[in-house]
Subunit: 428 residues, 2 copies
């Protein structure tokens, strides 16, 4: 057995106590062996003056959209998708997706994210990028049937099932998959129902957008006279491992349904603000017992993949939505970005204790904006930024040491991504 | 004449065009001499791969509150002030304020802020810190008369006038001052009116909080049957150089009044979210012609002093407030953080052109989260963070070069601030 010891730091425990301890990691199994004082390993990662926390989970993104960062800001969701994003995405190649996903991987590793959920296209390229980067991900092919004939719609859904079956367990088990119908209003109901049943047979969960804007709620209310998530349940969605993004316009009946089924919600506060979609009732969801994670959404609607920003945004927007400054406190958003994200992705990460996956971020506290240190959980939520992350570990492997990436060459990834991004704009 | 050349970068011009150019600075006068290709100076600051932008302006803060960062989060404004902040502040010494303001200065320099407005106590210590740091600031003593007898109230207001007179023009002109009544509801109306008249005689403007919560609006509506800013105008406030913080709960009549008088508003989006105060109608203000700047507010309600965060928050919250994703675009928040802030502080900074103050931030674009570079103004608003700032220049002097501070010793400032912060908590 080969071991890694993250030593000399303070450690954020699952109950959010912070203790001085070392974290011993089994590099072969990729798991945490022990959290205790005075441990030794074959290799040491210096965490002196640092806070060791679970690697953050970005539970909803479209990683390769980093190529479109800044391409079209300050537009509402519908116009933005139809005028700017979809035309460019229609021209995307597998190599574009590889370049964009690698750029996203560099950004995530540098900001302490170790696992993410990705809904996009060209899943083979996504999986390649995840494997090379050393990250953990639940990936899938997004299905949109609007504007397609029945054959094309079914081919798109089949592609999503095939990708989910083919790549589940890839990258030494770091890759898992899902069937990913884009949303309840952009996929034909028959296709949604039939292929969701196929996903059940294939043993993969379903990830989709829901209730992001009122335009995704009203048509279902009008046509079926029921709330979107109740209707989704009837189509076979909302099994325990399923998870939906956004849930901005959800009501108490839907929160109860989510709590009862165990399906998770990925809250994307920055995207919801930037597209003026609205304020998700996160405090209500949490009080109803819903599992809530955080996601950046794609870089075109954020515009970065820094989950520290997302924690801060979630705490702040949650207070505004609840009209209560005590709502969605620091502790809650840290939980959402770690254990909540791991639960939603159905991975055994998000907590630092023996037996869990060795997915870690080591945050350098030697910074003016993290001084004084009255409360480190507060700092994680409100003051820290991804740039404060010193080391990143996933599956027991060091992906970044002292701000230097070990798996990807950041400079060449950036250069390649810039070339692909420029070519995409030139083609569109 | 001694010159500094910021060379090899791209430069953000006042119209937000970005051009490749050098910026030549007169170090003796502290002003920009030229913006052009192939310039040479006595000293060079390498901006290769960087964007040179105006130093950011943090137009409303309580700098020394860095000592209270994380001390009490997730509470509403009134309870937070009365239970947590005011008891600790009552015990503040001049040395505490010096330590906290120096910590704030380190944080601001490291995140590209070159000018700020500070409302606090122990103004001599604030001025000392500003002078040592090399920053530019408009400072003042905050007056609260609630709970004081008439003599004590007048003594507090006199102190604010005395400090404004004494320190105006300090630090080689980098320090300017204002009379700073805390708010329209925490200062006795007679005291407010009389000492505002004194401020006019002393030739200093007035800075105050207004319309931050409905609790600051309703009592004035009830008692005087008019909007708070109309009432403020009758007390002698809202001269052209005056500026107020927040303005969350303002209506169209107040926006017109602000536009007509020329008084500025400092929008503090993070603080307004964190304290659940509400959403300022920033798009409406801008359309009415109000000069809007950005402020972090104190670090206890933010919890950092990074104006890049504030730009992102302002753009996102502005869209939500307007229910329109095209509201408060990237361009607007960059303007608010630069020229808007300079206008509100009545300083000739916030723009890169010959004649203006040489207050600059040099942003390193060599980062995954700033790749690709479709739109650098978008990146400033949505993707950059204070940690991306490579050099900071104020009044022609380099305050940070390659992330190393030149005026303050960051490590000893952090250590001293930590000691003072701990002692404060122990005393309270």
């Amino acid at each position: 057995m080969s071991t890694l010891c993250v030593s000399g730091g303070r450690v954020l425990l699952p109950d959010h106590d912070v203790v001085r301890a070392d974290v011993l990691v089994d590099r072969d199994e990729g798991t945490i062996l022990a959290v205790d004082e005075d441990l030794d390993g074959d290799e040491t990662l210096d965490a002196d003056g640092c806070l060791v926390l679970p690697g953050l989970v970005n539970a909803h993104t479209h990683a390769a959209m980093t190529l479109l960062r800044g391409i079209a800001d300050d537009k509402p969701l519908d116009a933005w998708l139809q005028e700017d994003i979809w035309p460019v995405e229609a021209a995307l190649t597998s190599e574009d997706v590889r370049a964009g996903t690698e750029l996203a991987a560099v950004e995530m590793i540098r900001s302490g994210t170790t696992a993410f959920a990705d809904m996009y296209f060209e899943v083979d390229a996504v999986v390649d990028a995840v494997e090379r980067a050393g990250l953990r991900a639940r990936v899938g092919h997004g299905v949109v049937t609007v504007g397609k004939d029945d054959d094309a719609a079914r081919e798109d859904a089949s592609e999503s099932i095939r990708a989910a079956e083919r790549f589940d367990g890839a990258a030494d088990g770091r890759v898992s998959t899902a069937f990913m119908p884009h949303s309840l209003t952009t996929v034909d109901p028959d296709v949604l129902r039939e292929y969701t049943a196929e996903a059940r047979e294939a043993g993969v969960p379903v990830h989709f957008h829901a209730n992001e804007t009122t335009d995704e709620v009203d048509p279902i209310l009008d046509e079926h006279d029921e709330r979107p998530l109740a209707w989704a349940r009837e189509q076979g969605l909302l099994e325990p491992e399923d998870f939906l993004a956004h849930g901005v316009h959800t009501d108490a009946s839907e929160h109860d349904l989510l709590a009862e089924t165990g399906a998770g919600v990925v809250h994307c506060p920055a995207s919801n603000m930037k597209l003026a979609s609205g304020m998700a009732p996160v405090q209500d969801m949490r009080e109803a017992g819903v599992t809530v994670a955080l996601g950046t959404d794609g870089a075109a609607s954020n515009n970065d993949l820094d989950v520290f920003d997302e924690m801060r945004d979630a705490a702040m927007l949650g207070k505004l939505a609840a009209d209560d400054a005590s709502a969605v406190p620091a502790d809650a958003v840290v939980e959402m970005a770690t254990q909540g994200g791991a639960d939603v992705l159905s991975i055994d990460s998000g907590r630092i204790e023996a037996g869990a996956n060795a997915d870690l971020a080591v945050l350098d506290l030697d910074a003016a904006h993290l001084t004084p240190q009255h409360d480190l959980v507060s700092h994680l939520a409100y003051a820290a930024t991804g740039s404060d992350v010193r080391h990143t570990v996933c599956d027991g492997q060091v992906l970044m040491r002292d701000r230097e990436l070990t798996t990807l060459d950041a400079a060449s990834v950036r250069e390649r991504a810039s070339e692909h991004a420029q070519a995409l704009v030139d083609r569109a």
